[in-house]
């Protein structure tokens, strides 16, 4: 045991310089704008669970196991109609397949502690990915993980609050869920800082347009697959061009 601890010390040393409390505060600050969308959406989700006739604990149970908003909303209706588990598995795979692409740029390599790393992977949601993808700030393990914990608290808290509210209110406030769309709009603007990003933006727009026309029921999934395919072509073309340049 003692040997292991000593071996880990040189690696951990540079991070000790950074103030832990400051990093946690920065992580919480980074989470706030997403929380503005996630908490109301969580409330809407919690109300849906109760209105569907399910016990209240299904809301937090889904938020801890699935922890992906759009999938959880789908699962509520699937539970109510008791669809076969194979269908649940396939739907989960297809709806959340997009997470596969997040590994390319999510700064997980910063997190060294094994438990923290496991949590960071488990809690890699659209919102967590988006916040890191759009920001120019320097991420540290504490900042990243505290941001992710905060996001999950907003979501789970919103869900539980929604189940409590469902019995008190006639219906949710209409339109609050727009906050999530607004969040992604601002994050896209933040990520599109330089002209170098324009080709990616155009390819994404093209992917989504084609996806709506070809696969309107699975547009998000189709758009992401198309986008990755187009980037692969772009990569292949770029490689050929640079080879021609060195040949000439």
């Amino acid at each position: 045991m003692g040997v292991e601890v000593r071996a880990a010390e040189p690696e951990a040393a540079p991070e000790a310089v950074v103030s832990r409390r400051g990093e946690i505060a920065a992580g919480l600050r980074a989470s706030l704008s997403a929380g503005l969308g996630m908490f109301p959406l969580g409330i809407a989700f919690g109300m849906l669970v109760v209105q569907a006739g399910l016990p209240w604990w299904v809301a937090p149970a889904l938020s801890f196991t699935a922890y992906a908003g759009s999938l959880e909303l789908l699962l509520v209706s699937m539970i109510v109609t008791a669809v076969p588990l194979a269908t649940v598995a396939l739907t989960t795979f297809l709806v959340n397949f997009r997470h596969v692409f997040y590994a390319f740029s999510f700064p997980l390599h910063l997190v060294r502690h094994r438990l923290a790393k496991a949590y960071s992977v488990y809690a890699l949601t659209d919102e967590a990915y988006a916040i890191t993808a759009a920001s120019r700030e320097r991420w540290s393990p504490w900042r990243l993980v505290s941001m992710q914990v905060a996001l999950q608290l907003y979501w789970v808290g919103g869900g539980v609050a929604g189940t409590a509210l469902a019995s008190l209110m006639p219906g949710p406030i209409e339109g609050l869920e727009f906050a999530l769309c607004a969040l992604f709009v601002t994050l896209t603007i933040d990520a599109a800082r330089t002209r170098a990003q324009i080709p990616s933006l155009l390819l994404a727009g093209l992917s989504f347009t084609v996806a709506i026309l070809v696969a309107p029921d699975a547009a998000l999934f189709a758009a992401l697959v198309l986008f990755v395919a187009m980037l692969s072509v772009r990569h292949a073309l770029g490689a050929r061009r640079s080879r021609e340049a060195t040949d000439a």
Partner: protein, 121 residues
């Protein structure tokens, strides 16, 4: 109320598939982190994925009630404008866009405009 065994099995299946989708790519990419392809994708992907998520959530909002398309488009415009002109304060931009959308829905502005237009025709 569905069968408890069904619920527990469902939660377990969802948890395992979800976690695998998030974890496996990191294991697969770990060895490739230095490759040109992975480094390029890390630069190219974020802005495109964010744009696709924005488009997808906007489409979801409109699909929930096609009559709200005008309100949603207006709220996106307000969000973007506030973000660009008020110094990229995300909380402010998201708040302004959402309040705009909720108010437009509440007062049913889109329906009023549509009603006025059809009245003219």
């Amino acid at each position: 109320m569905p069968d408890a065994r069904y619920l527990v099995a469902l939660l377990a299946i969802v948890f395992v598939i979800d976690l695998a989708l998030r974890a496996v790519p990191f294991a697969a990419l770990g060895a490739l982190r230095e490759s040109v392809l992975v480094r390029r994708f890390a630069v190219w992907m974020p802005v495109g994925i964010l744009a696709i998520l924005a488009a997808s959530t906007l489409r979801g909002t409109i699909a929930a009630d096609p009559g709200n398309a005008v309100s949603a488009a207006a709220a996106v415009a307000v969000t973007a404008a506030v973000h660009l002109w008020a110094g990229r304060r995300t909380l402010l931009s998201v708040g302004a866009g959402t309040v705009t959308y909720v108010l437009l829905l509440h007062f049913d502005v889109a329906a009023a405009i549509a009603g006025a237009l059809s009245g003219e025709i």
